[in-house]
């Protein structure tokens, strides 16, 4: 029986005389107790379509079409009707559990608010059903005292408090670690089955869809390009976009290594400790050991994958090797086999500056890593101006043109500003900024995590091409094991600032020794 039916839904934003149609003629239905996944890249209108089902679209949007919930029209319904739908018949779980929960109220109070009354036994029952049974005597906890996964469970408890017939989950696991993600997904699936609840699951992760959903709708630029049973779509995608999406899962393996490479970068018992001060005089009471006693060596031309959950110290380790953070322990850099080794940890300030062009970072978020007020020429040129100030404007232009071509961008974009580019293009620009100085060592800090799936694989290919061409040495930091597998020669698993396990990619994936690693792989592959 059809629970919710969306017919020809369109959402339009007017901006001066320009109209942006964020959602175009979208139609889908969802049966009772069914799980529909809406898949699409960022900006494809998937969240907006779902919000419109509850009448929660932004007020600036003009809505047309029809949304019926058990025969009742939602579009244009008075606010009082909408309020009676929200939370009772349709409820929602948001992406970011920290901001979706009120930090000033206890979790008990927030769940009670959804119920409309303080019914302790009902609250206990709800907590039990989301796997927080041990929280019965912790109803007075505040959201900050909970972990990300626990907060997301509280959100789900609130969402199902009134037995809604439809739950909308808007990328509920994007903000949590892979191992937590697997548990949350399992919980949602169980709740859907035990409560005969329909679920609209919004995601960009195809593995999740394959694992959980009954039906899937693929959205692109505000339109549903294809929808149908998960098994059918994954077996025989019809629309070219779906085909592209399904084929863009990161795959392949690391580039072949040069014969007998020398160790380019090494560290010995590297430590990054942040002091915790107490009392009036700032006595150091203890340390947060972000990186604790790590010894590593990276051969020239190879990629070391650093994996681990958030807070495991993988980014800290990367930046400490670049000498962007204070650390203890030896860091040795050997530019060529016959050169004398440089002890990086002994250098600072002006002495370190000439070496900066040998080692460069690439950041996760291409929206944050480019100064919005500088044009592309200025962004890429900045490093050249520091390290080769003697070069003429003409020589600098030639370098910028060369690197833009290498990262696959046209040369005529130089006068444009970062906001005119898509995420993938921006990431190419930040790669160009790092590569224009011809570094030998590059720390890639989750360079693909903020990108859409179809773009991820092209960036990985680009990085691999650059590596073969220039013999670059990478540290690739990621929590996404599928991506790490596609580029790394060796993998180090970090846990609480220490290396738990290190080995070749093959060893780690096929015969991991530690249970933690095994769990990580299992969660990432959703097997």
């Amino acid at each position: 029986m059809t629970l919710l039916s969306v017919q020809n839904l369109s959402l339009t934003f007017r901006h001066k005389d320009r109209a942006v149609e964020a959602v175009k003629n979208v139609s889908f239905t969802i049966e009772k107790g069914e799980m529909l996944a809406i898949v699409g890249e960022s900006g494809s209108g998937k969240s907006l379509s779902a919000l419109a089902c509850m009448g929660l679209q932004p007020p600036a949007a003009a809505v047309s079409g029809s949304i019926t919930l058990e025969g009742k029209e939602v579009i244009g319904a008075p606010e009082s009707t909408l309020r009676s739908i929200r939370g009772k018949e349709i409820s929602m779980v948001f992406q970011e559990p920290m901001t979706a929960l009120n930090p000033l109220h206890t979790i008990g109070k927030q769940i009670a608010e959804m119920l409309g009354k303080t019914d302790i036994s009902k609250i206990h029952e709800l907590l039990e059903s989301v796997g927080l049974g041990h929280f019965k005597d912790r109803l007075h906890s505040y959201p900050h005292q909970l972990s990300g996964g626990e907060r997301q469970r509280v959100m789900i408890a609130m969402a199902i408090a009134n037995n809604p017939s439809l739950l909308i989950a808007d990328e509920p696991t994007t903000a949590v670690d892979v191992t937590v993600q697997a548990k949350i997904l399992k919980l949602i699936k169980e709740l859907q089955q035990s409560r005969k609840m329909a679920v609209i699951f919004i995601t960009h992760d195809l593995t999740v869809v394959k694992k959980l959903a009954d039906r899937v709708a693929i959205m692109k630029q505000g339109e549903i390009v294809e929808q149908g049973k998960v098994s059918e779509i994954f077996a025989a995608p019809k629309h070219p976009y779906t085909q592209k999406l399904l084929s863009s899962e990161p795959k392949g393996e690391a580039v072949p290594l040069p014969a007998a490479p020398h160790v380019l970068m090494a560290c010995e018992s590297l430590k990054v400790h942040f002091p915790i001060k107490k009392g009036v005089f700032g006595r150091v009471a203890s340390y947060v050991k972000a990186v604790d006693d790590i010894t590593l060596s990276i051969p020239k031309g190879s990629t070391l994958g650093l994996v681990g959950e958030s807070g495991s110290g993988k980014s800290t380790l990367g930046f400490a090797l670049l000498r962007l953070l204070k650390s203890q322990g030896r860091i040795v850099y050997l530019p060529a086999p016959d050169a004398s080794p440089v002890q990086l940890d002994q250098l600072r300030g002006e002495k370190l500056k000439p070496l900066r062009c040998h080692m460069q970072p690439v950041f996760q978020d291409p929206y944050a890593s480019l100064n919005p007020r500088m044009n592309i020429q200025q962004i890429i040129e900045e490093g050249i101006l520091v390290h080769f100030p003697e070069l003429s404007q003409k020589a600098r232009d030639a370098m910028v043109d060369g690197i833009l071509q290498e990262v696959g961008l046209p040369a005529d974009i130089k006068t444009r500003f970062p906001h005119e580019f898509s995420g993938g293009q921006r990431q190419r620009i930040s790669i160009a900024r790092a590569m224009v100085l011809k570094p030998s060592f590059v720390v890639l800090d989750e360079p693909t995590s903020a990108l859409d799936l179809t773009v991820q694989s092209t960036i990985i290919d680009l990085l691999k091409n650059l590596q073969t061409k220039h013999g670059l040495t990478y540290i690739f930091i990621s929590h996404d094991l599928r991506v790490v597998r596609a580029i790394s020669h060796r993998i180090a698993v970090l846990y609480k600032g220490k290396i738990l396990e290190e080995g070749t990619t093959k060893q780690i994936f096929e015969s991991a020794k530690e249970d933690y690693t095994k769990n990580l792989i299992k969660a990432a592959m959703l097997e």
């Binding site: 901006h15 900066r356 970072p361 996760q364 944050a368 890593s369 100064n371 919005p372 500003f417």
Partner: protein, 338 residues
């Protein structure tokens, strides 16, 4: 034009009240900048024996025009006027009074508004309209100078604190806390009685306190922005600290600063008016709005003094606030251009 600048300009114009206030304010300001050519007791141009003279720029003695004394010609004197008119002609500014010119005919002072003195005279027989024009100019010039200097100092201090953080920040913050704890008005009054206050002294004394108004926001922006990825990237490229501050971090802080600057301006104007009203401000005889208000208070039987002062100050502050609101809209990233 950079699209961001374009958007901000559009937003500024979209706030109609602020946009109009901006133009009215600009016209008034430019108009009063040329106060000497609008309200003066000297003619703009004199043609005497076929030669052109400009007494605003050059002093001529009465003897030069065939008078009796070797002092500066007093052009309002009917005798001098007839001497000049006999040999040529004069062009007068629209208001034939400077801020210090005493109209001896308007007796007893303060004299109510008349066709000669449109807004009446004050208690020393000086034309209120002329004093208003000069007073408006000095208020705005004072406000602008104080705003710009305190913005420069404030942004610099905030930038240093926020960018370097740690101990620098800690020491600076405690200093500011103590400094802002000083009772501002009393310190001003005491200092104003130690020196003979003039425009620059008052500027300096007020500057002691107003520079702090921007440090907090600029510091916060610098603290936030120094950990931006593009700042880290610049550091990894080996770009110098100073260049990072100017090129990468400062533009972020400028948004917050720009939103506050017009409000500092209105505060500065009010501060000068207050000091003048209390009698600790600009030297006696200077045309100022605060002094006009004080006269209004001392002469309740001459309501034109108090009313004029009040209306002009209220209108001027309202204009600045309306402009401030438009500036705030312009820098609001969430505001939609309709």
């Amino acid at each position: 034009m950079n699209p961001l600048t374009r958007r901000r300009l559009d937003l500024f114009i979209a706030n109609r009240r602020g946009w109009w206030s901006f133009w009215i304010f600009l016209v008034l300001f430019i108009f009063t900048l040329f106060a000497e050519f609008i309200a003066n007791d000297k003619p703009l141009i004199i043609s005497y024996k076929g030669d052109l003279h400009f007494p605003i720029f050059k002093t001529y003695s009465e003897k030069y025009f065939g008078g009796d004394f070797d002092t500066e010609a007093f052009y309002r004197d009917p005798h001098v006027q007839s001497l000049i008119n006999a040999e040529g002609w004069m062009v007068w500014p629209p208001i034939r009074y400077s801020y210090a010119t005493i109209n001896y005919d308007a007796f007893p002072a303060p004299f109510p508004p008349s066709s000669e003195n449109w807004l009446g005279t004050d208690d020393q027989g000086r034309d209120v309209l002329a004093r208003l024009i000069y007073g408006f100019r000095i208020s705005i010039l004072f406000g602008l100078t104080l705003t710009i200097t305190s913005a420069i100092i404030g942004i610099f201090a905030g930038a240093v604190q926020g960018y370097f953080g740690g101990k620098t920040d800690l020491i600076f913050q405690r200093f500011i806390e103590i400094w802002s704890g000083l009772p501002e008005l009393f310190v001003l009054i005491i200092l104003a009685s130690l020196v003979t206050p003039n425009f620059w002294w008052l500027l300096l004394i007020l500057l002691l306190f107003t520079w702090m108004s921007l440090t907090a926001v600029v510091r916060a922006e610098f603290l936030r922005a120094r950990n931006f990825d593009y700042v880290k990237a610049a550091r990894a490229l080996g770009v110098g600290e100073f260049r990072i501050m100017i090129k990468h971090v400062l533009p972020n802080a400028m948004v917050a600063a720009m939103t506050m600057i017009p409000f500092i301006m209105s505060g500065a104007v009010t501060a000068l008016t207050t000091l003048d009203f209390l009698g600790f401000g600009l030297p006696a005889g200077t045309a100022s709005l605060g002094e006009l208000l004080l006269q209004g208070k001392n002469n309740p039987d001459a309501p034109w003094l108090g009313f004029t002062g009040f209306i002009v100050i209220a209108a001027m502050l309202a204009l600045i606030i309306f402009i401030s609101e438009a500036v705030r809209d312009a820098f609001d990233p969430r505001k939609v251009v309709k």
